[in-house]
């Protein structure tokens, strides 16, 4: 009985929906157009149409290079004759950013800073823009620093090479000192031999001639001993010279080792000691892939809330409302039939959307069909019941449409769509993380982009189910309370 009534009401609502062909086509096809526009619009991973207004009292070579680098990044830049004009260009949207270069911007740096003037009312865009322009300026600044540091490194390398050469020379000198000392020591042996000869000669008898020769040898020996003594003194001094030389060589070695340990051949290693590389966690950099879960969630949000609230209102305002009321049909049947009608319309909408995405962008959103369907149906159910609640709560067409748009906008505002949620206060962040739009969007991302399983998104599904029950129950009681007060 109850299913027959539900089916009758759904059949009637769909009949009425499709009877107005133009509005039906509009409702079914419009989301597809949005998705197509979003798909083509976000196919590039670069910003386009960015105009940079620049001003400087005097443009240096570096500021000119920076302006050129903007243009290389598909930005168009234009010089203004005063800072005020430059700022006004941002105010009247001729440019998205005004960059003020100090007049003395040279490779040695500047006493003043490069200043960006931006329109913070474009909150979602300004951070990206600042980031991009700042990257360009930082990159130029980094290039300048690299050149300076490279010179420093080259000089250090040259010093290191000179030190190594000098060390070789010192090593060679030290060796020669050792040789000298050894040579001196060698002299000692012939002197001893000479003394032995003299001693032998003294043992001979009658040796007046020998005496005279001995006397000469003795003189010679004493002269040699004297000279040897002097040489020994020299030898003993060479030890201390060698010690000093060794100490210098040791210090040079330490210096060379520390220079070698720096291991810097490239200036960029000093300018950017930690290199950063951004990699996508799912291996794709296509903005389109990331934008679609958001676009789908948004279409679901606005579509479901507006369709359900207007359907409820249409049912309330129809001449037949009274007759429906007096039939033996339960409140639950009316609410569930509205829910099913909306669900059918949304399913039709998204069949068009998914087919469009599949054929135009070669993207299959149903890689994991069961999980994806569950998320969509839970998300749609939440938004349908929110709309149903509003439809029964309010009486006039204006107030229903206005409040539906307002609630949808509220949910959109407290999601990642305008500003990252992390930008809001901690308390609001906690609340916003329960926003059904955020939950649906993040669950879709996790399933579609990152290939996670149900086990990893069950909390989100639980939250959505909770909202379905909450708003379904609220809709039931609001209908019960207001069904007689049209």
């Amino acid at each position: 009985m109850i299913f027959s009534s539900i089916f009758t009401l759904v059949e009637k609502d769909l009949k009425l929906f499709f009877r107005s062909r133009i509005s039906a086509i509009f409702i079914l096809v419009l989301p597809l157009l949005i998705v197509i526009l979003a798909g083509y619009g976000f196919s590039s991973d670069k910003l386009s149409g960015v105009n940079v207004a620049v001003y400087s009292d005097s443009y240096s070579e570096i500021s000119e290079n920076l302006i050129l680098s903007f243009e290389e990044n598909n930005f168009s830049s234009r010089k203004y004759s005063s800072l005020n004009e430059c700022i006004d260009a941002v105010k009247i949207s001729d440019a998205q950013i005004c960059v003020l270069f100090p007049k003395d911007l040279t490779s040695e740096g500047s006493s003043e800073k490069v200043i960006f003037y931006v329109d913070y009312s474009r909150t979602n865009f300004v951070d990206t823009l600042i980031n991009l322009v700042d990257n360009k300026v930082s990159s130029e600044s980094s290039n300048l620093g690299t050149a300076l540091v490279q010179t420093l490194i080259d000089n250090l390398n040259s010093v290191k090479n000179s030190l190594e050469l000098e060390r070789e020379k010192l090593n060679s000198g030290s060796g020669k000192i050792v040789d000298l000392k050894n040579s001196i020591n060698l002299i000692e042996n012939p002197v001893n031999d000479l003394e032995d000869i003299i001693s032998d000669l003294k043992n001979y008898e009658d040796s007046s001639l020998i005496d005279s020769e001995i006397s000469r040898l003795e003189d010679l020996s004493s002269e040699i001993s004297e000279s040897f003594g002097s040489l020994v003194d020299v030898g003993s001094q060479s030890d201390s010279i060698k010690e000093e030389l060794d100490s210098v060589i040791f210090n040079l070695d330490s210096l060379i080792v520390s220079l070698n340990s720096l291991n810097i051949g490239n200036a960029e290693d000093i300018i950017s000691p930690i290199e950063i590389s951004l990699e996508s966690v799912n291996g794709s950099n296509s903005k389109r892939e990331y934008i679609f879960p958001i676009v789908f969630s948004l279409i679901s949000l606005f579509g479901a809330i507006l369709i359900s609230s207007t359907l409820v209102l249409k049912n309330k305002k129809t001449l037949a409302y009274f007759r429906n009321f007096v039939t033996p049909t339960r409140d639950f049947t009316f609410i569930f039939s509205i829910y099913l009608t909306c669900l059918v319309i949304l399913i039709l909408q998204f069949i068009f959307v998914f087919l469009g995405v599949y054929f135009l962008f070669d993207m299959n959103f149903f890689v994991v069909p069961f999980e994806t369907s569950v998320i969509f149906i839970l998300g749609w159910s939440v938004f349908i019941f929110v709309g149903t609640f509003l439809g029964y709560m309010l009486r006039s067409e204006e107030s229903v449409i206005f409040s539906s748009v307002l609630v949808a906008s509220f949910l959109m505002f407290f999601s990642d769509l305008i500003l990252p949620l992390e930008n809001i206060s901690e308390e609001l962040f906690k609340i916003a993380s329960y926003n059904p739009l955020v939950v649906m969007q993040s669950s879709l991302k996790k399933i579609y982009l990152f290939g996670l399983s149900f086990g990893e998104i069950w909390v989100g599904l639980g939250i959505l189910l909770g909202f379905v029950l909450l708003f379904g129950t609220l809709s039931y009681f609001v209908r019960k309370a207001t069904k007689r007060n049209l």
Binding site: M1, S4, S5, T8, L9, K12, K15, L16, R19, S20, T318, L319, A320, Y321, F322, R323, N324, F325, V326, T327, P328, T329, R484
Partner: protein, 292 residues
């Protein structure tokens, strides 16, 4: 044994601070046509909508076969059919689609429903308009469509709110004939109207509503006899002039009390007094006056 199919017992209904009905007692007999008569805005439609529980009573109770209508709503809804003044059907569905839709909601079995839809199309004379969207029908056809929608489940009680309003005399006659035909099949009918000729023609019982209360109820012939009047129009004239006079006297007394109490010397002329003077003047001049 209860002689009334539907019975109002001390029923009071207010919308906010505005009291519409005050302690109404009314008995609607089975298999008869009961007419509720009263001036515009007296609460006739409210009475009908309370029978099908679209409005809840503030005080008192409405009984159907001795049971409160609110206690067995689902069953009671099955036994009632109602056609309201503005009509209650889907303008963007065809005549047949409307019949089918409401027939299904009344749980008429599918096989029977198809036959009944065709029968109903003939019964209300919409054979040539079965597949026409309701919004494209003439006023008379819409009235017939609405009547048929309320009959699709063969109710035991048919409630009609101003069924002949906005119809030309010929269509009105046809419609009254149709009502009699339905009643002849054993359906109890409760209707509201402002046309006295209709009441005399079709109603077995009438209830006259005035100033939040049922001031008279019974068979038209007996009421006419009671007021010594040849037509219901005359009955009305008498009832309303008596009541008005009574109201005027009551208000006059109240006002005198008010004046005395407040020592308010400036006397304001009563609107009823002005109207009475005008009526007397017109009568003297031989002009027709519908003084109720």
């Amino acid at each position: 044994m209860n002689d009334a199919l539907i019975e109002f017992k001390g029923v009071t209904k207010s919308f906010g601070k505005n009291k519409v009905l005050d302690s109404i007692d009314l008995k609607i007999p089975e298999n008869k046509i009961t007419g509720i008569i009263g001036a515009s805005g007296e609460g006739k439609s409210t009475i009908l909508k309370m029978i099908v529980s679209f409005y809840k009573v503030n005080r008192g109770e409405i009984l159907y076969l001795g049971r409160n209508v609110l206690s067995d709503l689902k069953n009671i809804k099955k036994n009632f059919g109602i056609a309201i003044e503005d009509g209650s059907f889907y303008e963007d569905l065809t005549v047949r689609e409307n019949f089918l839709h409401f027939g299904k909601l009344y749980h008429v079995p599918r096989k029977i429903l198809k036959k009944r839809v065709e029968g109903m199309v003939h019964f209300v004379g919409l054979e040539n308009a079965g597949n026409v969207l309701a919004k494209n029908l003439s006023m008379g056809m819409k009235k017939r469509l609405d009547l048929a929608c309320s009959l699709i489940h063969k109710p035991k009680v048919l409630i009609l709110d101003e069924p002949t309003a906005d119809l030309d005399p010929l269509l009105r006659r046809q419609f009254l004939h149709l009502i009699k035909k339905i009643n002849a099949h054993g359906t109890t009918i409760v209707l509201t109207t402002q046309l006295m000729s209709e009441v005399e023609e079709v109603c077995d019982k009438i209830a006259i509503l005035y100033n939040e209360k049922i001031v008279e109820q019974g068979e038209p012939a007996k009421i006419k006899k009671k007021y010594n009047a040849k037509t219901m129009d005359k009955v009305f004239e008498k009832i309303f002039s008596n009541k008005r006079r009574k109201t005027y006297q009551e208000s006059k007394e109240k006002k005198t009390k008010f004046i005395l109490k407040n020592s308010f010397n400036k006397k304001v002329k009563d609107p009823w007094e002005i109207l009475d003077e005008k009526i007397e003047l017109n009568k003297k001049e031989g002009k027709y006056v519908n003084d109720f």
